[in-house]
């Protein structure tokens, strides 16, 4: 019996689409977490190599594999609890659909990940790709109450729960977030929500990078606490010069007071955007990254932001950069080679700054790896965890590069 016939027998005819992928790899779309477990248990037994896909709008669906497991049919939202500010969603739901349904119930997931609006929730969690709102609301893991995932040998594992605090058992949720699917296919996510902000305001200032770095210092010194505080390269902001975009979100009183504080700290140099202008700015800044073949992030100390930006400019160019100088996080997008990425990672490692490759064509991912330049002792732990969760090496994930 062929692989396709076997899978059809397991999950039904409509779970398999042989023609859908560009490289001829049969795409399988299980309709439930149990079906994912059944499929991966069989994959382990048969020795099939599996690549994990969401909407295929972020990480390219190009890893060599025997089958592509897509979470597209895991698109339900079992619970939205406005009173508790929590929700449970399947991993294959598009972020745009999720956001709309949450808004209809007066709730908000304070995440603005890079990429297209239809990116799946599972993709955002698995790659831990937070956007500018990381300044005020933290990284992806800070929005997760729990996850359910399926290991490479078909075990359904639950971590965390749907309440605000939870220290029962080890925190496998944090291990899953940002592991690029190396430890399992995320099928269900419990989310921490916020009420839709009563006020949401974005202000921008154009200038040289040096000038805006000084403005950033002024903002920090004034104790202003923006939801987003993002330095955007000219191409990303579609402006002549670098742009510092500051966003406030919360109660009307909070936003009004913070805006006044920003004006006082920067001598009124910022310009407030209309709602549609603000939406266009943030949407463009997010979607641009999906249009470039390579994206990576680096995380340094706030004071090192300028030095890191200089380094990126020197080694890979600075056309597409979105940086949160207040917390030292930088995202870069563009075209580059595996050799340059390796060199950059080595240089950054010397500065104690990790580089995480977020997306790239498979040959680059395979050569460079999502992660690398591990600190002492980390490599064996990662290897041990991979063996634990994927003993048959079913998942095709470029955790580390070939170097």
């Amino acid at each position: 019996m062929s692989l396709v016939e076997r899978v059809r027998a397991l999950l039904g005819d409509d779970a398999v689409d042989v023609a859908a992928t560009h490289d001829g790899v049969p795409r399988v779309a299980p309709a439930s977490p149990d079906a994912v477990a059944l499929l991966l248990g069989t994959a382990r037994a048969e020795g099939w190599r599996v690549r994990i896909e969401g909407a295929a709008s972020w990480l390219a669906a190009d890893a060599p594999a025997d089958l592509a497991l897509t979470t597209r049919r895991l698109d339900k939202i079992p619970a939205i609890e406005p009173q508790d500010l929590s929700a449970t969603a399947e991993a294959g739901i598009g972020c745009d659909l999720l956001r709309q349904q949450l808004a209809d119930r007066g709730t908000w997931l304070a995440l603005d990940p890079p990429g297209l609006a239809g990116r799946t929730l599972g993709s955002v969690v698995a790659t831990a790709t937070a956007g500018p709102l990381r300044q005020g609301f933290g990284s992806i893991r800070d929005h997760l109450l729990g996850v359910t995932f399926v290991t490479g040998d078909g075990r359904l594992v639950q971590s965390g729960g749907r309440v605000m605090k939870n220290v029962a058992g080890y925190d496998l949720t944090k291990l899953e977030a940002g592991s690029f699917g190396a430890f399992g296919v995320i099928v269900l996510v419990h989310l921490r929500l916020r009420a839709v902000p009563r006020a949401d305001r974005t202000l921008v200032l154009e200038g040289s990078r040096e000038d805006l770095a000084q403005v950033t210092d002024d903002i920090t010194a004034a104790g202003i606490q923006p939801a987003a505080h993002e330095l955007l390269s000219p191409a990303l902001a579609r402006r002549e010069r670098w742009t510092l975009a500051v966003r406030f979100a919360g109660s009307a009183a909070l936003v009004s007071a913070e805006e006044a504080g920003l004006g006082a700290a920067t001598e009124g140099r910022f310009t407030a955007l209309r709602v549609d202008e603000a939406r266009a700015l943030w949407t463009h800044a997010a979607e641009c990254f999906a249009a470039r073949p390579v994206t990576f992030r680096v995380g340094g100390l706030p004071e090192s932001s300028d030095e890191l930006l200089d380094l990126l400019q020197h080694q890979v160019g600075d056309e597409w950069i979105s940086a949160s100088p207040g917390i030292g996080a930088i995202r870069w997008g563009g075209e580059t080679t595996a050799d340059r990425l390796r060199r950059l990672r080595r240089t950054l490692a010397g500065l104690e700054v990790p580089l995480t490759l977020e997306r790239a064509p498979w040959p680059v991912r395979a050569a460079v790896g999502h992660f690398g330049a591990y600190r002492e002792g980390v490599g064996p732990l990662v290897t041990g965890l991979r063996r634990t969760f994927d003993p048959g090496e079913a998942f095709v994930v470029a955790v580390e590069g070939t170097e």
Binding site: L172, A177, S251, V399
Partner: protein
């Protein structure tokens, strides 16, 4: 190796006066903050540096001897207790604040630094370490990392895991690994996040890099009193739904109020209230905090508060908080023993669950006081009892089990900040199936293949599909 030669070898590393072998000395480490578990460790050793920790752990690895890391012993789950075949490794001598970097708002500390000391050291820079467990004047940052400790102000600012950026960790074999980075981006998968809250099972954090936050420039503290516990619970839901996130939102019931008001920590809580809410709002803008405070006050009144009083000054605010943070101590007046429970429910379930807990306590003839982090739905039903009364401890255990079951039935979990330790082992199969427990145990094996670090805690091995004979001493009540 004999016990004598083990002691000599340990003394060689840390100095003889930092090895405790006499029974009266070891007995002082037989409990943590929870009085219902007692274990007398075989040997107690107090290393004074990272290198001494490494040397001790390597020695124990070579001998195959289990060990238990311990901070100040303020934990509430029996998590830092060692059996007589294990070495208790006390980390309180590693108490240096290595670095405070105000520009980047990070600090590097050793595990034995007392929580409140870090905020005190950061204060001259206008910064603070935000996680503030009630025991913060005694508990250590290392213990906070092991338990992923919370505290009242975690409602707005998050628990320990949200503030730990990087760790230096000594594994079971004595090797040293570096997890995370000062900027917060991990070198690979988020092993820092995995380590925090692992209750000492994955190794010993010997150096901890944490995020500091600015001390809020504006603070408003409100005390609201309610005629019924249910009404107070409903007011909590209304505050949360408003979209304004208070820095803290704490509840105390009448029994707790009386205990505090009868103690040296009397805070002026109204004695006739069925419950009080302590609500704190903070931020960088006085006008915004004032406006949000007014909104919250309106919500509290609209939801049944008899009165809402704002702290007039810093002194009164401090007094209100001292009463709350010392409530556990004050409840010591109620009886000889106190079991501090810890569970979390969805916030909207608070009114019903509080009533259920009251009914369970009544049915067992027990006194329960509630003081808890209402904004997070993190309950602490505290059962006062006299352990000398025959059969009473068994009733307390049974009532605790029913309370946990009620919280789970409401969609909650068995611990929000105290950890599983020994105390909650028996409840783990109520919220995790065999595959999930087996996965946790397998992860532990990556860090500690022989389960020598803090053995018998967190995961009830009998419930794991892949059980292979390792014992949990106390587990078994709910065994299938």
């Amino acid at each position: 190796m004999t016990t004598t030669s083990l002691v000599e070898a340990l003394a060689e590393i840390v100095g003889a006066r930092h090895v405790r072998t006499a029974l009266p000395e070891r007995v002082t480490y037989a409990r943590d903050g929870l009085p219902t578990h007692r274990r007398v460790p075989g040997v107690v050793v107090l290393p004074g540096s990272r290198d001494e920790v490494v040397a001790v752990v390597r020695l124990l690895a070579a001998l195959g001897i289990p060990f238990v890391p311990r901070g100040a012993g303020t934990g509430l789950s029996g998590g830092a207790l060692a059996d007589d075949d294990a070495v208790l490794l006390v980390l309180t001598r590693l108490n240096r604040i290595v670095k405070i970097d105000p520009s980047n708002r990070v600090a590097v500390v050793e595990p034995g630094v007392v929580n409140v000391r870090l905020s005190a050291a950061a204060a001259p820079h206008g910064l603070q370490y935000t996680p503030d467990p009630s025991s913060q004047t005694a508990c250590t940052i290392g213990g906070n990392v092991a338990e992923n400790a919370g505290g009242p102000h975690c409602l707005k600012y998050g628990v320990t895991a949200n503030h730990v950026l990087a760790l230096e960790v000594v594994l079971a074999d004595g090797s040293v690994v570096e997890l995370g980075s000062p900027g917060g981006e991990p070198w690979g998968p988020d092993l820092t996040g995995l380590f925090v809250g692992s209750e000492g099972n994955f190794g010993i954090a010997t150096r901890i890099t944490v995020r500091l936050l600015p001390v809020p420039r504006a603070v408003r503290t409100l005390l609201a009193d309610f005629p019924a516990l249910r009404t107070a619970g409903e007011a909590v839901s209304a505050v949360i739904a408003s979209g304004i996130v208070p820095a803290a939102l704490e509840m105390m019931d009448q029994s707790c109020i009386q205990a505090v008001e009868d103690s040296v920590y009397a805070a002026g809580y109204p004695r006739d209230a069925a419950a009080v809410l302590l609500v704190e709002l903070d931020g960088s803008r006085e006008e915004a905090v004032a406006a949000d405070s007014d909104t919250i006050e309106g919500i509290l009144r609209a939801n049944g508060a008899r009165s809402v009083v704002g702290a007039a000054d810093a002194k009164q605010r401090e007094r209100l908080w001292l009463g709350r943070k010392k409530a556990f101590g004050a409840m010591g007046r109620l009886s000889r023993n106190l079991v501090v429970q810890d569970a979390v429910v969805p916030r909207s379930a608070l009114p019903d669950v509080l009533e259920t807990i009251g009914r369970i306590a009544s049915s067992y003839g027990l006194t329960v006081s509630n003081v808890f982090h209402a904004g997070d739905g993190n309950l602490h039903p505290n059962i006062s009892f006299d352990g000398r009364v025959p059969g009473l401890k068994a009733r307390v255990d049974a009532a605790s089990g029913e309370m946990m079951a009620a919280c789970i039935a409401a969609g909650g979990t068995i611990t929000g900040e105290h950890g599983v330790g020994l105390d909650k082992l028996r409840y783990m199969p109520m919220i995790f199936d065999g595959d999930s427990l087996a996965a946790m145990r397998a992860v532990r094996h990556v860090f500690d293949p022989d389960e020598r670090v803090n053995p018998g805690k967190v995961v009830p091995v009998h419930a794991c599909r892949e059980w292979s004979g390792v014992r949990n001493v106390e587990w078994g009540v709910l065994a299938p």
